[in-house]
C-alpha cells in the first residue's frame, strides 16, 4: 500500500475514534441512561448534568494521569530498583535502595553533564532574553519592525535537529589549504587566525557553540513576548520621562525595563524549562563527546545504549528535581490568580 494511503487510513481511525467517544458517550447518557423524558425527567436531567463534566473530562484526566502523573511515581520507583532479565526473557525489578544514585554520583560523565547543564542554565536564558529584549526594543518604533520580528522569530519553527544541521555547516572546518566552507572558520582565517579550528571539539568552549543554537532559536520567542509587554507600557510614563529630560537609554533601563520585569521573569523561566530538557541539539551535534554531555542526553545514553534503566531513571529524577521549583512557583501563582 502506498505510504500516503496507509497514513490516511490510520489517521481517520485515530481521529474518528476520539471524536466518536464524545459523540456517542453523550448520546448514551442523554438517551439511554438518563433520558430526558418520562416521569423522572427532572431528576434525570439533573443527574445527567452531574455526570456530564466527568464524561467531558475523562479522556483528558485519563491521559494526564497515565502519561504524566503515573510516570513521575513509576520513575521514582524504577530509580530505586535494578532490572534483571530472567533466563525466560521476562525481567524483574529488584529493590536496591539508593544504589543507582550512588553509582550515578560516582560517574564523572554525570558530573560533567550536571556542570554543563548549569552552564546552559546560566547562559542560554540570559542571552536569549537579552537578545530578545534588544530586538523587541529596537524593532518597536521602526517601519519594517514587523518584518524584522518575523524573520528573527522564524527559527522557532525549525526543529532542533534542523538547527543542528544548519549550525554544523556554520561550524564546519576543512584542513588548512582547502577552501573553508564553514562561515565561522572562513571569517576566523580572514581575521588573521592561523589555522582552521574544529569548533565543536574544543573543550569547554564547544558548549557555547551548542548553546548558540538554542539562543538562536529562543531569541524569537523572548522577543515576541517582550515586544507585546513593551507595547503595553502606558505612554504617560514615557512621556513624563521625556519631559523630565531622560535620554533614550535612561528611558529604556529606568522606565521600560522595570515595568516589564514580570514578563522578563516569565520569559526567563520558560526558557529555563526548555534548557533543562535540552536533548536534540547535543544528541545531533556532538552526542556528548568532547565534554559536552548534558543531563537529558546522559539519560538517553543510559536508557538506550547502556540499557541501564535504574541509573537512567535516577537521572530523570534529577531533571525532575531541577524543574520542581518552577513547578511549585507556577502552581502557587495560578492558585493566587484564581482566588
Amino acid at each position: 500500500m502506498h505510504p500516503a494511503l496507509q497514513g490516511l487510513i490510520t489517521i481517520i481511525v485515530g481521529v474518528g475514534g476520539c471524536v466518536g467517544y464524545f459523540y456517542f458517550s453523550n448520546m448514551f447518557l442523554d438517551k439511554v441512561v438518563f433520558p430526558a423524558k418520562g416521569k423522572n425527567i427532572g431528576r434525570n436531567i439533573n443527574r445527567a448534568n452531574i455526570v456530564r463534566p466527568w464524561l467531558f473530562l475523562f479522556p483528558a484526566l485519563f491521559a494526564l494521569g497515565l502519561y504524566l502523573a503515573y510516570p513521575v511515581v513509576e520513575t521514582l520507583r524504577l530509580s530505586l530498583t535494578e532490572r534483571e532479565t530472567l533466563p525466560d526473557g521476562t525481567s524483574v525489578f529488584n529493590w536496591v535502595g539508593l544504589d543507582n544514585y550512588r553509582q550515578m554520583f560516582g560517574e564523572s560523565k554525570f558530573w560533567e553533564a550536571m556542570g554543563n547543564n548549569m552552564l546552559w542554565l546560566l547562559f542560554v536564558p540570559a542571552a536569549a532574553t537579552a537578545f530578545g529584549l534588544l530586538a523587541a526594543q529596537l524593532t518597536d518604533r521602526i517601519k519594517w519592525g514587523n518584518l524584522a520580528k518575523s524573520l528573527i522569530f522564524m527559527p522557532m519553527a525549525i526543529s532542533f535537529v534542523g538547527a543542528a544541521v544548519i549550525f554544523k555547516l556554520v561550524y564546519d572546518a576543512r584542513p588548512l589549504g582547502q577552501e573553508q566552507i564553514g562561515i565561522l572558520n572562513a571569517l576566523y582565517l580572514q581575521l588573521g587566525g592561523d589555522s582552521p579550528i574544529v569548533w565543536l571539539t574544543v573543550p569547554f568552549w564547544n558548549n557555547f557553540f551548542l548553546m548558540a543554537v538554542l539562543v538562536w532559536i529562543q531569541t524569537g520567542f523572548a522577543m515576541v513576548i517582550l515586544s507585546a509587554a513593551i507595547r503595553g507600557i502606558p505612554e504617560e510614563t514615557i512621556e513624563a520621562a521625556v519631559i523630565d529630560g531622560a535620554g533614550p537609554f535612561q528611558i529604556f533601563f529606568k522606565i521600560k525595563v522595570p515595568q516589564i520585569m514580570g514578563t522578563i521573569v516569565v520569559v526567563w523561566t520558560t526558557i529555563t524549562l526548555v534548557v533543562l530538557k535540552i536533548f536534540d541539539i547535543v544528541f545531533a551535534m556532538t552526542n556528548g563527546q568532547w565534554e559536552t554531555q548534558v543531563l537529558a542526553n546522559y539519560m538517553f545514553d543510559k536508557l538506550f545504549r547502556a540499557n541501564d534503566w535504574g541509573v537512567g531513571s535516577a537521572s530523570a529524577i534529577v531533571i525532575m528535581l531541577l524543574v520542581s521549583p518552577i513547578l511549585i512557583w507556577n502552581v502557587y501563582n495560578a492558585r493566587k490568580e484564581m482566588r
Binding site: T10, E74, L138, G162
Partner: protein, 383 residues
C-alpha cells in the same frame, strides 16, 4: 509621541542599522543551508556558499597533448598545438602559468619563455602553442595551470535524489509521510480531548474543579524525560509496542496540559450571557459546546494546533522512544536526518537538502499562521 523619543535622526539610523545587522545574523545560518541545497557536491566543497552568488574562480591543472604523438616539425623546432579544454567545454581562462608556484604568471595570449628556447603560448579560449627542440618536446605533455571563471550555477538534482530517486539511505519520501501520519492525529486528538476538558473546567460546576486546574498547571512543566521508561514499559506490557498508536498517545499526553491551559483560559473569557441564554432556551451542555463554544474558540484552537503541529513535526525524542523500531520502517524525518549526519556527515548536498525538506513545512505553516502562533505564545506565558 514616538517622534519625541526618536527625534534624533542619527539615533534612528543606528537603530535601523542594528536591526538590519541582527536580522542578517539570524538569517545567515538558514540561508547558508538553503543555498547549499541547490549546489552540487563539488561546488559545496570547492567554495563557501556565500560565494555561490558570484562567478567562481577556479585554478585547474591541465596538460598539453603528448608531444611524442602530436608534435610537428616547423622550421627546425617542434610544435604541439591544441586546446586545453575538452571538446564542447566552452570556457574562458583569465590567467595562466606553467609553474605551480605561480599559476597566474601570464595573461591570455602571452608567450612564456620557459628557457633554452622552449616556449608556451595560451589564448583565452584555451588554444595553446607549445614549441621547443626535439629533446624538450618529448615525454609527457607540459603542465599548464589555468584560472577559469565559471558563472553561478544551481541545480535541483539534490532534491531529485532526496525526494524521488527512491534510494533507501537518502530518500526522505517515506519519512515525510511517516512524519505526517504521526503529526496530524497527534495534533487533532489532543485538541478534541482538551477542548471538552477545558469547557468542563471553565463552565461546568463540579467538586474539585480548582484542584484540577492547579494540577494541570503543575503538569505543564513535568519533563517528558520522566515518562519515557515507564510508558515504554507500559506500551510493551499491554501490547501496543512501538508504533503509531503509541506515539499518538504519548504526544496527546504530553500536549494536553498546554492545550487544556490555553483553551480554558480562552473559554473563561467568553461572555457568560451567551451561554446562559442558550441554557434557558433548553440547550444541553453538549450542544452549547459544539454549537457555540467551539466556533467562538477558533483562535485559541488554532494557536494550540500550530504549537502542537510544530512540536510533533520537529520532535525527535518521542518518536525515537515510542515509534521507531529495529526495522526502521516507521522512521520520521528528524531521525532520518540524524542518521544522515552519522553516515553521510560530509555529504553536505544530501544533508542540506534533507534538512530543508523537513524544515520547509513548518516554515510554511509558520509564515501563514504567525498571527495565531504569537497569540498563543502570549496567552500561554504571560499571566
Amino acid at each position: 509621541m514616538s517622534q519625541i523619543a526618536g527625534s534624533k535622526s542619527s539615533l534612528n539610523w543606528i537603530v535601523q542599522i542594528s536591526v538590519a545587522a541582527l536580522v542578517l545574523l539570524w538569517l545567515f545560518p538558514t540561508i547558508g543551508l538553503f543555498v547549499s541545497s541547490f549546489r552540487t557536491a563539488d561546488q559545496i566543497s570547492g567554495s563557501g556558499w556565500w560565494k555561490a552568488m558570484f562567478a567562481s574562480e577556479q585554478v585547474l591543472q591541465m596538460r598539453a597533448a603528448d608531444p611524442d604523438d602530436f608534435r610537428v616539425e616547423e622550421g627546425g623546432v617542434f610544435v604541439v598545438r591544441g586546446n586545453l579544454f575538452e571538446e564542447g567545454d566552452e570556457a574562458t581562462l583569465t590567467v595562466w602559468g606553467t609553474s605551480s608556484r605561480d599559476p597566474s604568471a601570464n595573461a591570455p595570449g602571452d608567450t612564456f619563455d620557459m628557457g633554452d628556447g622552449e616556449s608556451m603560448q595560451v589564448a583565452a579560449n584555451g588554444d595553446y602553442v607549445w614549441s621547443g627542440s626535439a629533446d624538450q618536446m618529448t615525454g609527457r605533455g607540459q603542465r599548464v595551470f589555468i584560472t577559469v571563471t565559471s558563472p553561478p550555477e544551481f541545480t535541483f538534482d539534490n532534491y531529485r535524489t532526496v525526494l524521488v530517486s527512491g534510494s533507501t539511505t537518502d530518500s526522505m519520501t517515506k519519512a515525510f509521510f511517516n512524519t505526517l501520519t504521526v503529526t496530524i492525529p497527534a495534533t487533532i486528538i489532543p485538541i478534541v480531548i482538551a477542548a471538552f476538558a477545558a469547557y468542563a473546567l471553565a463552565w461546568m460546576d463540579f467538586p474539585g474543579r480548582a484542584l484540577l486546574i492547579a494540577a494541570v498547571v503543575g503538569l505543564l512543566v513535568v519533563p517528558l524525560q520522566l515518562a519515557l521508561i515507564p510508558l515504554l514499559k507500559l506500551h510493551l506490557g499491554i501490547g501496543i509496542g512501538k508504533g503509531y498508536l503509541g506515539v499518538w498517545l504519548a504526544h496527546t499526553g504530553f500536549g494536553l496540559p498546554l492545550a487544556i491551559y490555553l483553551l480554558r483560559n480562552y473559554m473563561v473569557g467568553l461572555p457568560r450571557d451567551i451561554i446562559e441564554n442558550a441554557k434557558v432556551d433548553g440547550a444541553t451542555d453538549f450542544q452549547i459546546f459544539t454549537k457555540i463554544i467551539l466556533p467562538l474558540s477558533f483562535p485559541a484552537l488554532a494557536s494550540f494546533a500550530i504549537f502542537q503541529f510544530l512540536w510533533t513535526w520537529n520532535d525527535l525524542l518521542v518518536a525515537k522512544v515510542f515509534l521507531i523500531d529495529a526495522t526502521g520502517e516507521t522512521t520520521v524525518m528528524t531521525n532520518q536526518i540524524v542518521e544522515l549526519l552519522g553516515t553521510r556527515g560530509g555529504n553536505w548536498e544530501i544533508l542540506a537538502t534533507a534538512a530543508f525538506v523537513s524544515i520547509a513545512v513548518p516554515l510554511a505553516v509558520f509564515f501563514m499562521m504567525q498571527k495565531y502562533l504569537v497569540r498563543g505564545l502570549l496567552a500561554g506565558s504571560v499571566k
